[in-house]
Amino acid sequence: MFESLSEKLQKSFRNLTGKGKISEENVQSALKEIRLALLEADVNFKVVKKFVNEVKEEALGQEVTRGLDPGQMLIKIVNEKLIEILGGSSPELNFKGSGPHIIMMVGLQGSGKTTSCGKLAKRLAAEGRHPFLVPCDVARPAAILQLQTVGKQVDIPVFDSHGIGKPLDIVKKATVEARNTGRDVLIIDTAGRLHIDEALMGELKSLRAFLEPSEILFVADAMTGQDAVTSARSFHEAMDITGVVLSKMDGDARGGAALSIKSVTERPIKFIGTGEGMEGFERFHPDRVASRILGMGDVLSLIEKVQEKVDQEEAQRLQEKMLKNQFTLEDFSKSISQIGKLGDMGSLMGMVPGMGALKEKMDVQAESKQMGRFQAMINSMTPEERRNHAILNQKRKQRIARGSGTSVQDINGMLNQFMQMRKMMGMMGKPGKLGKLKSMLSKTGLGDFADAMMPGPQAGVPQLPPDMDIEELQKIAAQNGGKLPPQILEQLGMGAPSGGMGGAKRPSRPKKDRKKEKAKRKKGRKRR
């Protein structure tokens, strides 16, 4: 849906002369594209205005770095600026002085305070602290019970505030109980409220005065639109918040609210909420959110996820076997499990620039199900069969089908795909066959999933070349405006899947395309 900003920028620069320098003339339409992209990402329009002006000032007169075109140069400036604004101060929680420490969670209704309380408690407990959850939401029906249930889920004690009508009384009693029971961090869950609600904001202030919290975290929904500045500012003015939690980042909102909130409060975004499960709570990475706001995917998170979840040695071993054409059904099953560990293919693909469109087309779930069935079949085989598929005769297949709840036909289908994979793998070992491999892949019907499924540098699952680590990648990305250059993506096995990639240079394109673009440009002009 969204064309990546870098593509748009390159378009707007394509027909311009004087490309060596960014000038007032050639930058104008590009700045408009930046403005649009930020607005579409829900960055507040005032923040956008200021941001675009700053980018313009910085960009004007700058020599375009060799190897970059002006569009890439501008992206680089925009990206750096975004990271600079989003990042900055340290996101560590403040635990200075003697405990118990108090963390207050505040925010609008439905922003995700209670869930974030549970996630934060879990995280702190894992760090060796002893959190105590204190429900202070006496307004919403069953809110106290909700935190109690959440507390049970993460195995953290919850103060029983039932029957105490006033939040101030609750926290008074809770602090005493925390001292008595040796809890060293109190996490205070407050009721959601509108920032314009004088009475309820007053209540928050009195809680703050009594508790003297070391952290006041403003919980905001990543899907928030233009109003993010208004609510964040009001909460900040009333409470002097110390940080922000951006919830529901597992959605597909571009998250421009992060920039809006950071701009008005100047307080660090400390955490992001990334799922309904209690483990879905992560540190905030300004660079990743920056590229997300710009619609450029999140390659680094993907790489990190792969590194974290995939057993590197195992993958290496599988890869070697593949290249030597010794890949067995057993290995096939292992490689499916490796992919399974990464979680939902769809969400993985969303992180890769240019793959968003593909994700729409693919029935990710059906593919996942299929893989599950493959594994069931392989699990129903004897070890011997797994190691040597050649011995599978009709009788054996019938037995396996019964064991896995499938049919002989299904098993033949699986074997077919397995054989094809083996064949392709063999090819991969030889240089210069990549193109052929890709065309074969699309014929197999396994499609992109197969691409992603095969361990090894050429496959879709990115693996770092031995001589490269994440830090280095991050450096490279930073130098290229937050994106990895196409050569490196190619190395990671994420080469552009037929032209979806943003930063990739594409010197020639089909005529039809150019025509379309021309029409688009015309339309664009009219608009203005």
């Binding site: 579409e40 209704q109 233009q226 208004t230």
Partner: protein, 349 residues
């Protein structure tokens, strides 16, 4: 301090709005307080229009400052004005595309010299907004089926359960017997929350203690409705992000179950949308339409400063009527949506 410098940029924005808001809002503690909320000013206690006005008051006020300045009849129409106007529409979350379209139409009128001053410009924009809203088919929110099965869906934290409480109360006010179904088996204490609402509204509730299977609860509820001959069944579902295929499929399954037992059910699939939602609202709506055939829209939390403009974009793009708006946490804080009023109030000075 470091903040000082940054604040400078926003202070203009802040002063302008806050001063006005301060004047009017402070004497009028917001909708959350039940008694005061009902009629904070000297408006008659009955009549939905006045209630809508009260509910939309903050919405209007925050937009008004800008509008008034823009529409000073003396102000000539120039590029600056049009740009400001575009920003203002965008600032209301109406969306870049829709805002630009509106401005484009206005620009054409300006080029034709059909609009002479700011005042006429204002009328024209009002017309444009109304035209967009008027294009949306709205057959009203009928409860004619017997029983009328209503599925309530949306992303997390938009106010589904609260809205169901209000809807149950509203329908009971129309002499309907209502049954609510606690099919949010995922979120902690969601069932208990709905239970409290059902009690408040005095309606029947179907729940399954400890069940993790929403479809089973819905199945029970359908049986209950068959037995009790209730007029309306409101099904509360767990909030889910529209880009989570598993959860969306679960919702589709719930929908299928209702279809099996009753003809043409569900008769309404209500998408609840938080007014603070930005452009992602459109994605949400599209996915929910795709998976469970959303029929109507409800915008919640319009008692804040968010304008809920994305609803205009959604309604526009998906041809979906907005049925109600939520303006507070109390049972009566639900109003039928009226686009004429909505636009009028946005521009009321």
């Amino acid at each position: 301090m470091n903040d000082e410098k940054k604040k400078g940029f926003f202070s203009r924005f802040k002063r302008k709005k806050n001063d006005e808001e301060a004047q009017e809002n402070r004497e009028e503690p917001v909708a959350v307080e039940p008694e005061q909320e009902t009629e904070p000013e000297d408006k008659p206690k009955t009549g939905f229009f006045s209630k809508l006005k009260a509910g939309l008051k903050k919405t209007t006020d925050s937009l008004k400052g800008g509008m008034d300045r823009l529409f000073l009849a003396t102000r000539p129409i120039d590029e600056d004005l049009l740009e400001e106007l575009e920003e203002m529409l965008i600032g209301a979350d109406i969306g870049v595309q829709t805002s630009m379209e509106i401005i484009e139409r206005v620009r054409r009128e300006v080029d034709r010299k059909a609009l002479k001053n700011g005042e006429e410009l204002k009328e024209h924009i009002k017309k444009e907004l109304l035209r967009i809203l008027a294009e949306i088919p709205n057959k009203g929110f009928n409860l004619d089926h017997n029983p009328t099965i209503i599925l309530v869906v949306g992303v997390n934290g938009v106010g589904k359960t609260t809205t169901i409480g209000k809807l149950a109360n509203y329908m009971r006010g129309q002499d309907k017997t209502v049954c609510v179904c606690a099919a949010d088996t995922f979120r902690a204490a969601a069932v208990e929350q709905l239970q409290i609402w059902a009690e408040r509204a005095g309606v029947d509730i179907v729940l399954k203690e400890g069940s993790k299977d929403p479809a089973a609860v819905v199945y029970d509820a359908l049986e209950r409705v068959n037995e009790t001959n209730a007029d309306v069944l409101l099904v509360d579902t767990a909030g889910r992000l529209h880009n989570n295929p598993n959860l969306m499929n679960e919702l589709a399954k719930i929908r299928r179950i209702t279809t099996r037992d009753f003809e043409n059910a569900p008769h309404h699939v209500l998408l609840i949308l938080d007014a603070v939602t930005g452009q992602n609202g459109l994605q949400q709506a599209k996915k929910f339409v795709d998976k469970v055939g959303v029929t109507d829209l409800i915008i919640t939390k319009l008692d804040g400063t968010a304008k809920g403009g994305i609803a205009v974009a959604i309604a526009n793009e998906l041809n979906m009527p907005i049925q109600f708006i939520g303006v507070g946490e109390q049972m009566n804080d639900l109003l039928p949506f009226n686009h004429q009023d909505f636009v009028n109030l946005l521009f009321k000075d």
